[in-house]
């Protein structure tokens, strides 16, 4: 199956950064996930991950998200996610990621969680 490359739009607002993913997140998405995370401004302390345009994450893609969460945890950055489909909300929950992130239905709820 052909997989379109993941695109990531980064919005930086002071200490808050929003990473908006577009397309499936798979093993080929390292630059789009970790590359963009590593490029965030040093003063970033709050990060929103927008999955509203991400229909599918395979296990390799989820591994990238976990690596991002681990790196953010080590750097004491707070990460919240929104826009995940019900399926992947369940998958993220089963993965025990609640310790590292919170899952929200939409951007407003996610922003409120880091306010």
């Amino acid at each position: 199956m052909m997989v379109a490359p993941t695109k990531t739009k980064v919005e930086q607002h002071g200490d808050l950064a929003v990473l908006r993913f577009e397309g499936d997140i798979t093993s080929t998405s390292e630059e789009a996930v970790l590359g963009k995370y590593n490029g965030l401004a040093a003063g970033t302390s709050k990060i929103l991950l927008d999955f509203s345009k991400t229909p599918y994450l395979n296990s390799s893609g989820i591994a990238l998200v976990i690596q991002l969460l681990m790196a953010a945890s080590k750097a004491s950055r707070k990460v919240v996610c929104f826009g995940l489909s019900a399926h992947f909300v369940k998958v993220f929950t089963m993965l025990g990621l609640a310790k590292y992130t919170t899952l929200h239905a939409d951007e407003a709820a996610a922003r409120a969680a880091v306010a």
Partner: protein, 633 residues
């Protein structure tokens, strides 16, 4: 095609035999003393016109001060003395092939025309023509011949540059007995047609080679060299075949058609560097630049033939010389690589092809070689050296690709053999059923997405009659995941604990630092003889019991961080138990709908093979592992 060519060859030989006595050359007068003048005046056709102030026309390069690249109308005038031996017999004039539009006058009377003058001059493909002279036209032993000729800013005839625009190519016009002139021109035509057929065969072979190469590309996605070779051969052969078709037709040649045909032909020179770059990536950068320059030249050529560029032949000349120079540079670079005979052959044939092109279109003209002398003679065939060298290069390139393809196939079959053996090893590791545990039946289905998978499952019997079942999934696929599965299998074989949380914690410790940025999910379930079920979960899908999803505390996947403690949940086993990998819920159909949790739950009481096959039928895109456990009695 060979049959046609053989028939034509025999016909030409027969014609020569029959015609030889008739071709008394002393009766044919070659008209050499031409004078030329630019401009257009109908009075110049008159035998009484004084052309002594006109410039003499000399072969091969110039007509006096009139360049053969001249655009516009010019007139040629000459006088021929008719031998007494043929005086009074029907006469004719032989000309051509001349581009583009012309008409011939004898003693002021128009005897023939080629192309059309109105409303704007429109040429036809230059042909060997002969025009009978009406008895009323030639009035004495001296005949006055005038040719009114128009050539455009660019030639639309695909003529060789060497003799385009001249009057004397392949030889000067001739006058003689109509039957001799007519037969002579027909013989020349047959000979040219024969050479076209030989070239036609070569072009068709090149065209078929191009299609074959593209077919190989489609069969082996990613073989860029096949793609570029196919495109280059089609770029070479299609315009040449089209040009041959046009040359054999009587259709007027329009500038846009000429632009497309000529532009495409030159574009082949821009495609070849891409082919070479795909075969030898080391030279990709300079080759791309060469392709860019060749592409610009091809556009320039197309504009020239399309009459949209005021300086004719600049691009054609530039293209010819740039091709031979770059081919030489590429050949030297490839030879300098010293990495095998293949490259030497390819480089040599490339150079040969470029040289043949330049020799035919440039050097031969400079040395004053007539058009006919530029062809190789083989039996009845006149073969264009450019075509032959082109074919040699194409065949060499195809051979190189075929040999590479064979080597790659052998390598792939070796890899497949290794993977098949790896799969057997993995299956033997996965089938780790130590002993049947009384009171429980276990059923497993394992469908890897490729030769080796990243899923695993194990059954471990406890000394107290308990049964431990694990199902896990290594993130990613292929060998890396398979090797991790091997490691996990070894770790589980050495595991002494039968407590699910402890088993996962130990496995986690053994995986930290070994998962290369990935992770391993795993669910471990213990079945006691009294029907108690104890579950610990490391980021894996929760199990189902009796068609219901079991709520277990989620733990982090294995291998991410060390020192993780996992929670256990206990319950009574009151129905069929199901544990699976995410290949079931994330099976995806053509509409990109996931199999999902709801469908999984709906079939969760079925047997393991049935569940696995349902997910596979939906659209497998990951390893599928399903384990069911039923309590007997």
């Amino acid at each position: 095609m060979q049959t046609i060519s053989r028939i034509l060859t025999q016909a030409v030989i027969l014609l020569y035999a029959v015609a030889a006595p008739l071709l008394a050359q002393e009766d044919v007068v070659r008209i050499e003393n031409w004078r030329v003048h630019t401009g257009d005046d109908p009075r110049w056709a008159s035998p009484d016109f004084d052309d002594s102030t006109w410039e003499a026309s000399s072969w091969p390069r110039r007509h006096g001060s009139v360049s053969r690249f001249f655009a516009g109308t010019r007139w040629y005038r000459a006088t021929a003395s008719i031998p007494a031996s043929i005086a009074g017999s029907p006469l004719a004039i032989a000309v051509g092939p001349l581009d583009e539009v012309y008409e011939i006058f004898v003693d002021g009377a128009r005897i023939g025309t080629h192309g059309s003058w109105e409303p704007t001059p429109t040429g036809k493909f230059p042909a060997l023509l002969w025009f009978p002279i009406p008895e009323t036209a030639a009035k004495g032993p001296l005949v006055h011949i005038a040719i009114r000729r128009w050539t455009g800013a660019t030639r639309t005839s695909f003529q060789s540059l060497a003799f385009s625009g001249t009057l004397h190519a392949p030889h000067a016009p001739e006058i003689g007995p109509a039957n001799v002139i007519g037969l002579q021109q027909e013989l020349r035509r047959a000979s040219r047609l024969n050479s076209h057929i030989a070239n036609l065969i070569v072009h068709i072979v090149a065209f078929l080679c191009g299609l074959l190469s593209l077919a190989l590309y489609l069969a082996r996605q990613g073989s860029r060299e096949n793609q570029w070779l196919g495109l280059a051969l089609l770029c070479e052969s299609v315009p040449l075949l089209a040009g041959l078709a046009v040359s054999q037709s009587d259709l007027p040649i329009r500038a846009p058609v000429a632009a497309v045909i000529a532009g495409l032909q030159y574009m082949a020179s821009a495609v070849w560097p891409f082919f070479l770059a795909s075969v030898y990536p080391r030279f990709a950068r300079p080759l791309r630049w060469i392709a860019v320059v060749q592409g610009l030249i091809a556009i320039g050529v197309a504009l020239s033939y399309g009459a949209m560029w005021p300086f004719p032949y600049v691009f054609q000349q530039a293209g010819a010389w740039f091709a031979v120079l770059t081919a030489g540079a590429i050949a030297i670079a490839l030879l300098a690589e010293r990495s095998g005979g293949e490259m030497a052959f390819l480089a040599g044939t490339l150079l040969l092809q470029a040289f043949a092109q330049t020799w035919h279109t440039q050097l031969a003209g400079w040395w004053g070689l007539a058009e006919d002398a530029r062809y190789l003679r083989l039996g009845g065939f006149a073969i264009d050296a450019r075509t032959v060298t082109r074919l040699i290069f194409a065949v060499t390139a195809l051979t190189v690709l075929y040999r590479r393809h064979r080597r790659e196939q052998q390598r792939q079959s070796g890899v497949h053999r290794d993977l098949a053996q790896a799969r057997l090893v993995q299956e033997s590791l996965l089938a780790g059923r130590e002993a049947a545990v009384p009171g429980y039946t276990v059923e497993a289905a394992y469908l890897p997405a490729s030769e080796v998978g990243g899923d695993f499952y194990r059954e471990l019997a406890g000394p107290d009659g308990s049964l431990l079942v694990l199902v896990g999934d290594v993130s990613g696929k292929g060998m890396r995941a398979a090797l991790l599965v091997g490691h996990i299998s070894g770790a589980l074989s050495n595991e002494r604990s039968r407590q699910p949380a402890e088993v996962l914690a130990n496995l986690n410790q053994s995986l930290v630092g070994r998962v290369s940025g990935g992770f391993v999910t795993c669910c471990c379930a213990r079945f006691d003889a009294d029907g108690t079920l104890t579950v610990a979960n490391a980021g894996h899908l929760a199990p189902y019991v009796g068609g219901r999803e079991v709520e277990v505390e989620a733990g982090l996947p294995l291998g991410v961080v060390g020192g993780v403690e996992y929670a256990e949940s206990s319950l009574r086993l009151d129905g069929p138990f199901l544990l699976m990998s995410d290949g079931v819920v994330e099976a995806e159909n053509a509409q990109r709908d996931l199999f999902g949790f709801d469908r999984t739950r709906a079939i969760s009481t079925k047997s393991a093979p049935e569940i696995a096959e349902a997910a596979k039928a939906w659209g497998q895109n990951d390893d599928i592992t399903v384990v069911t456990v039923r309590r007997m009695g």
